[in-house]
Structures are given as structure tokens and as C-alpha cells.
């Protein structure tokens, strides 16, 4: 047989060897389609690196461009004082300052190149109309929007002189708010020989002396003009840029600009006229800062605390007259008394859980959490009687402070109505999930803390159990029933106590909490009795500060 079986191998290998079969055309179509997809993928892979590098380079270029252009949008510092009152202005050096209304510019110092004498300043307010003799003369390019007179660059002719000092009034109606940056005082003098520091000094002096308009003297007006008209925005922007460079502290608006030329066209002046109003009110700044501080209140310190506790609970038992029946029979007056008089030992309640504490302003605490509490109740031996249930079965009814449990005789004869049995020492266990909400006041003294608190706890029933040893008709049975009728799924208690803490490290502290609980509501419903659990407990835990 073995030979045959081995020969079977040979039979098949020899028989099939060399045999060929053509697959259907679908196979190649499928391969072709998949190869196309793979081809795309490989192309994608091939150029993926190239694309990645290109993206990096382009992003870098864009970032560089943005950085360059953002030069003009850098934030500047504010100073609190932005008031400039109307007063005379003095300047000691190469800065021409225009004082404000009703003031005389008595102390203007001519510029090095004597521009004062040769400069004509024109503004909206006092446009100098060309006289016949200077029709071809000096062209003063005035504020954007106003038609220039002539192109002065072509025909430099003496111009009509006006006072070098111009009194400029405040204008609030046409303010040009430069609010895309934190505008600071703008004054630039770009005359040769005047250092940046010196310029800054001049300007600061000027502001200290309540200047409201400052001249920008520059050799190059091209950047301020567009189509031979003064580019107001550009001029102001340029001035702002320079002010930023000088890190001038004050802020201001500029609502007018004028440009004028000296007869030699060697110096040109951009006159920027302020409205004396800060771009951003310091008041707003302070408000913002104080809001921030006030919002800090809402950021609590958070700690968690795993804990273990032990409660000793007593159930206050009251009559429940709302229950019309007890099981299947009408309620009797002494039903509840039987439970009340039959003493139950103090209920032992171990608890374990975790709490979360939110501490606001280092004083007020709000605590919540979850704990599991198991109430162990030992019940002394008692007589239990039979009762006909709704299902037609006769069972022994066991009443206690928790509620009523029905015990079915498992062995021996079926009990009859009126029969009774002796129940030995019994134990009930009720397990609750406790969810507290507590408010406390936190006091800290060195490493010790004291937090008296008060609050409420929701006790949510998880499971119930009654174990008893029942003796009837000579039969002794130990039974455990998991159904106790008449319990509320939730009942509420108050909690009050004081937490004593000892800080062991920056984040850890040991906590000990003696506390008391009182039932706010009965733990029963539709039961013979109303039970109100009250107790005293002690809790220990480890508090961990998260923040």
C-alpha cells in the first residue's frame, strides 16, 4: 500500500507535469490595471522628495518675504503719557518744530542748511496760489488729493516766503488713524550729520515740550510722492518706520502731511501734523491688563485625592404611612414598629474612592469625586412569617431597615400561610456609589492646612444582598437573596467636616477628614419603614496637586 501511495505522488506529478492551461483575459486586464496604479504610485514616490524640497524652499521664500514686509508691522512699545498740551515748543538743534495753536514758534532754530528761510510750507489750510511771477516757480506738492501746482523740479525759481513756523490746529474730523501698527511718535530728520540718537533726543524734547507737529527733513522725497503728488500714506508710513527705528515712546495720529522744497532743492521737508491723540488709549491697555488679572480668578488649582474612609451609620426608622399594603396584605399599624424595635447594630460602612478639588484664589474649594460605600448591617435573630406573594408562592418575608426580602423554603415541606420560621443572625449589604459636591474654605499655615467644608452627596444604589440562616420545620437553611424590595435607587445626605492637611512635598499632602453625614431623604420607597441613615466617619487620603 505504501508503494501505491507513493506511486500516487508520481502518478499525479507525472500526469500533471507539462500541462498548461490559459487563463481568461480578465487576468491580464486586472494585472494591467494594477500596474497602471502602481506606475502612478511610483511616479508619485519619485517626485515626492522633489515636491517636498520644493515646498520647503517656497515656504522659506514666502517666510522671508513676510518677514521683510513685516518689518513695518512690528509692535512698538507704548508709553502711558500721550498727552500733549498746547504750549510753545522749543528745540535746540536741527529740528524744526511747529508749535500748536496760539503759540509762537519763537525758538525755532534754523536748520543747518538754512532751510527755514528758504522753505515754503503749504498745507490745505493755506494753499499758496501761484502768482504770475512764480507760475513756473516752485512746485509745492501738497497733500494727496490736492492738485499740485507745478512741477517744481523742472523750474527752480524763488518762491514766496511764508513764515517758517506754522501754527497747526488739531483736527479730529479727518483723522487718519494709523492703526495697523502701534504708532509712535514720528519724527525723522534725515539730514546729514544728525545722528539717530540726537534725532531721538530732539524729538523727545519736542514732545516733552508738547510739540504737535514735527518736520521730517529728507533728501529724498521720491518715496513720498506718487505721480508728482504727495503720497500721504507713504510719507506717514515712512515716518512711522523711522519712528520705530528710533523706538520713540509716544503715540500719535497724523492727519496731514505737506512737503516743501527749498529753492536749491537740496532739502525737502515732510511736515507731519499730528492730531495729538494716541492710537491706542492707555486706558484700554490698563483695562485689558486688569481683565487678564480678573480672569485669573477663574483658573483654579486642581488636585486629586484617592482616599479610604470608614463610617459608622445608624438608620433612623420612621413609620411609612404611605404604604397601603405590606406585600399582599393590608398594612398593619405595628408593621413598622416591629422593624424599629428590633434593634439593628450600627452599620459599618467602609468607603473607597477618589476626589477632585478645585481651589480658587487659594481660598475657596469645590470638591467632587466618586466613592464606593458598602453598608454592612448585622440584624439580630428574629421570627419571620410566611406570606402569599403576587406570583402565588408562599414565602417567608424578612423585614429590616433597608426593606423587605422574601425567602423561599428550599427543602422540606412547602410552608403554609400563617407559618413562621426563626431567622438567625442575618447580614445585609448595600453597596452605593457616592458622588459628593462640597464647598470649603481653605486656610494654610506653613505646612498645615485646614479646610472646613459642607455639602451634599448623592448615594446611588449599586447592589443589595441579604444573607440569613432560617430554621423551619426542623430544617436549617442558609440563604442569600439579592432582591430587597423598597429601596430607593438614589438618596441624598449632607456632608460636613474639616479636612486637615499636612504638606509633605510641593505637590503632595496627607489629608485626614473627620466628617458627619445626615440623610436628606429616606433610603426607602414603598417599604414598611422610612430609614434615614446618619453617621460619623473618618477619611484619610493623599492629595496630589496637579497644578
Amino acid at each position: 500500500m505504501d508503494k501505491n501511495l507513493h506511486d500516487i505522488d508520481k502518478l499525479f506529478t507525472d500526469g500533471i507535469d507539462g500541462y498548461e492551461e490559459m487563463p481568461s483575459s480578465n487576468v491580464w486586464e486586472g494585472i494591467d490595471h494594477t500596474l497602471d496604479k502602481h506606475g502612478l504610485d511610483s511616479i508619485k514616490k519619485k517626485y515626492k522628495n522633489l515636491k517636498t524640497y520644493s515646498a520647503i524652499v517656497i515656504t522659506g521664500l514666502i517666510a522671508l518675504l513676510v518677514y521683510k514686509s513685516s518689518f513695518l508691522t512690528k509692535k512698538l512699545q507704548f508709553s502711558d503719557s500721550a498727552t500733549v498740551s498746547k504750549a510753545q515748543v522749543k528745540d535746540s538743534n536741527n529740528l524744526k518744530i511747529i508749535s500748536n495753536e496760539n503759540a509762537e514758534a519763537a525758538s525755532t532754530v534754523p536748520l543747518t542748511k538754512d532751510i527755514t528761510e528758504q522753505t515754503t510750507v503749504h498745507t490745505n489750510d493755506n494753499l499758496v496760489k501761484p502768482t504770475p511771477e512764480n507760475k513756473e516757480g516752485d512746485k509745492t506738492i501738497i497733500q494727496a488729493g490736492i492738485t499740485p501746482i507745478d512741477n517744481h523740479l523742472k523750474t527752480p525759481t524763488p518762491i514766496k516766503e511764508t513764515p517758517a513756523v506754522k501754527i497747526i490746529t488739531n483736527t479730529t474730523t479727518n483723522e487718519k488713524v494709523i492703526n495697523k501698527r502701534h504708532v509712535n511718535a514720528i519724527t525723522v530728520e534725515q539730514e546729514k550729520g544728525v545722528t539717530k540718537t540726537l534725532r531721538k533726543q530732539h524729538i523727545e524734547n519736542a514732545y516733552a515740550n508738547n510739540a504737535n507737529a514735527i518736520n521730517v527733513v529728507t533728501n529724498n522725497t521720491n518715496s513720498f510722492t506718487k505721480n508728482n503728488q504727495l503720497d500721504n500714506t507713504n510719507a506717514i508710513e515712512k515716518a512711522i518706520e523711522e519712528a520705530y527705528n528710533l523706538r520713540l515712546p509716544q503715540s500719535t495720529y497724523f492727519n496731514k502731511a505737506a512737503i516743501s522744497y527749498n529753492s536749491n532743492q537740496t532739502y525737502n521737508t515732510i511736515q507731519l501734523i499730528t492730531s495729538l491723540k494716541p492710537t491706542i488709549s492707555t486706558e484700554a491697555m490698563h483695562k485689558k491688563a486688569s481683565n487678564k488679572r480678573s480672569l485669573a480668578f477663574l483658573k483654579p488649582q486642581i488636585s486629586i485625592m484617592p482616599y479610604a474612609a470608614y463610617e459608622s451609620t445608624n438608620r433612623e426608622i420612621e413609620d411609612n404611612p404611605e404604604t397601603p399594603t405590606v406585600g399582599m396584605r393590608p398594612r398593619r399599624e405595628d408593621d413598622w414598629k416591629k422593624v424599629k424595635q428590633h434593634e439593628e447594630e450600627a452599620i459599618k460602612t467602609p468607603v473607597a474612592g477618589a476626589k477632585v478639588e478645585f481651589l480658587f484664589l487659594n481660598k475657596v474649594s469645590l470638591t467632587t469625586g466618586v466613592g464606593i460605600a458598602s453598608q454592612y448591617n448585622k440584624i439580630k435573630p428574629k421570627l419571620v412569617e410566611t406570606e402569599l406573594g403576587r406570583d402565588g408562592r408562599i414565602r417567608y418575608r424578612f423585614d429590616c431597615s433597608a426593606g423587605s426580602a422574601y425567602i423561599t423554603a428550599k427543602t422540606g415541606n412547602i410552608p403554609l400561610i400563617g407559618d413562621s420560621a426563626l431567622s438567625g443572625s442575618s447580614n445585609s449589604r448595600l453597596r452605593y456609589m457616592q458622588v459628593p459636591l462640597l464647598a470649603g474654605f481653605h486656610l494654610q499655615k506653613n505646612k498645615f492646612s485646614f479646610t472646613p467644608f459642607i455639602g451634599a452627596t448623592a448615594n446611588i444604589l449599586l447592589d443589595k444582598q441579604l444573607s440569613t440562616e432560617i430554621t423551619y420545620a426542623g430544617v436549617k437553611e442558609t440563604q442569600t437573596v439579592t432582591e430587597i424590595e423598597g429601596l430607593q435607587s438614589i438618596y441624598y445626605t449632607t456632608n460636613e467636616g474639616v479636612t486637615i492637611g499636612y504638606k509633605t512635598t510641593r505637590r503632595l499632602s496627607l489629608q485626614l477628614t473627620p466628617y458627619a453625614t445626615q440623610a436628606l431623604s429616606s433610603m426607602n420607597k414603598n417599604a414598611v419603614v422610612k430609614s434615614f441613615p446618619n453617621g460619623l466617619g473618618i477619611q484619610a487620603g493623599l492629595k496630589i496637586n496637579l497644578k
Binding site: 501505491n4 502518478l11 499525479f12 506529478t13 507525472d14 500533471i16 498548461e20 487563463p23 487576468v27 502602481h38
Partner: protein, 183 residues
């Protein structure tokens, strides 16, 4: 030589070369796939998957051994992968367990066609089919088969024995039918 040119063409992704290579090897490989599959459709799926792998990994062919052997290995691996995936989805229950009954002790003359023999192999339960194919056709040892299929050596031997017995029975039945039809 022609093979090498085609292989080079396939490495460069030339579709014509790929097609020609496919047309040359597909009929042989189809039989390999049929041996490992229950149905023709299943075999074509394995074949398609196998050739896609061939073209994807053709650069890895190092001219050690024959190209046909290399392609055949890929086909067998594809078949095994399919077997493993089917094993996960549907546990293979060998309802046709051959047991260890005595096969007919009858020397079967090799009169059956290749197609018929192939059909008998296809009808084997998947586990037996795998072992039989790997042992008889691929020349693998039980240790290697056991590692490949994730079974013990003993199971491999037992499966092979059962497979042979089943094939023997199937062949015998076919022979009887053939004799009855053509006396």
C-alpha cells in the same frame, strides 16, 4: 536570452515586455494555481496576485536558478497567503476526513488525463491539498511544510497520508467510471 531581455524590459516598466512575459509563463503558472485552488476563479485570482508580485519584485531576481522556478515560488506563496486568509475567515473543517481506512490495494494505471488528475487534486480538502502540493510538487520536507503552514510535523505527515488515500480513492473511482463508460 530572450528571457533576460524581457526581464530587463519589465524592470524598466515596459508594458510590452510585461505582457510578453505574462503570456509566456501564465499557462504553466495557471496549472500551479489550479492545484492550490478549489475553483478556476480562485486560481485566476491567485495567478493575478502572483504576477503583480512578480512584476513588483522582478528587480530582486538575481539570476540564481531559473526564472520559471522563481515565478513558481511566488505563485505558491500567493496561493499560501490566500489559504491562510481563508483559514482565518472560515475555519477549515475537513468534513471529508479520509480517516485511515484501507485504500484499495489496486495499482492504478496512469490513464487519467492531466485535467482529470488536476480536478482530483482540487477536490482535496484545503489542508490536505496544501500538504500534498508542497510535498509532491514542490518537493518540500515535512519540517518545512509544518513551518510554512503553522502545523506540526506529525499533522503534516498525517495530512499527506490522508490526501494520498483520498486521491487514490478518487482515482480508482474515476477508473471504474471510465471502464464502465468505455468497456
Amino acid at each position: 536570452m530572450e528571457d533576460l531581455l524581457l526581464i530587463q524590459g519589465c524592470i524598466h516598466g515596459d508594458r510590452n515586455s510585461q505582457r510578453k512575459l505574462y503570456e509566456f509563463y501564465a499557462p504553466k503558472m495557471m496549472v500551479v494555481c489550479l492545484r492550490y485552488s478549489k475553483t478556476r476563479e480562485e486560481a485566476e485570482e491567485v495567478l493575478q496576485e502572483g504576477f503583480i508580485r512578480v512584476f513588483a519584485k522582478i528587480e530582486q531576481f538575481k539570476n540564481e536558478g531559473s526564472f520559471e522556478g522563481w515565478v513558481r515560488k511566488i505563485m505558491v506563496n500567493s496561493a499560501l497567503q490566500k489559504y491562510r486568509s481563508q483559514k482565518k475567515l472560515h475555519p477549515i473543517i475537513n468534513i471529508e476526513a479520509a480517516g485511515h481506512e484501507q485504500a484499495d490495494v489496486e495499482y492504478v494505471l496512469p490513464q487519467l488525463s492531466a485535467k482529470e488528475l488536476l480536478g482530483h487534486v482540487q477536490q482535496l480538502p484545503p489542508a490536505y491539498k496544501m500538504v500534498f502540493n508542497l510535498y509532491a510538487f514542490e518537493g518540500m520536507k515535512h519540517k518545512e511544510i509544518a513551518e510554512l503552514l503553522g502545523i506540526s510535523e506529525g499533522t503534516s505527515k498525517s495530512n499527506l497520508s490522508d490526501a494520498r488515500a483520498l486521491l487514490q480513492r478518487a482515482v480508482t473511482r474515476s477508473m471504474r467510471i471510465a471502464k464502465q463508460t468505455n468497456p
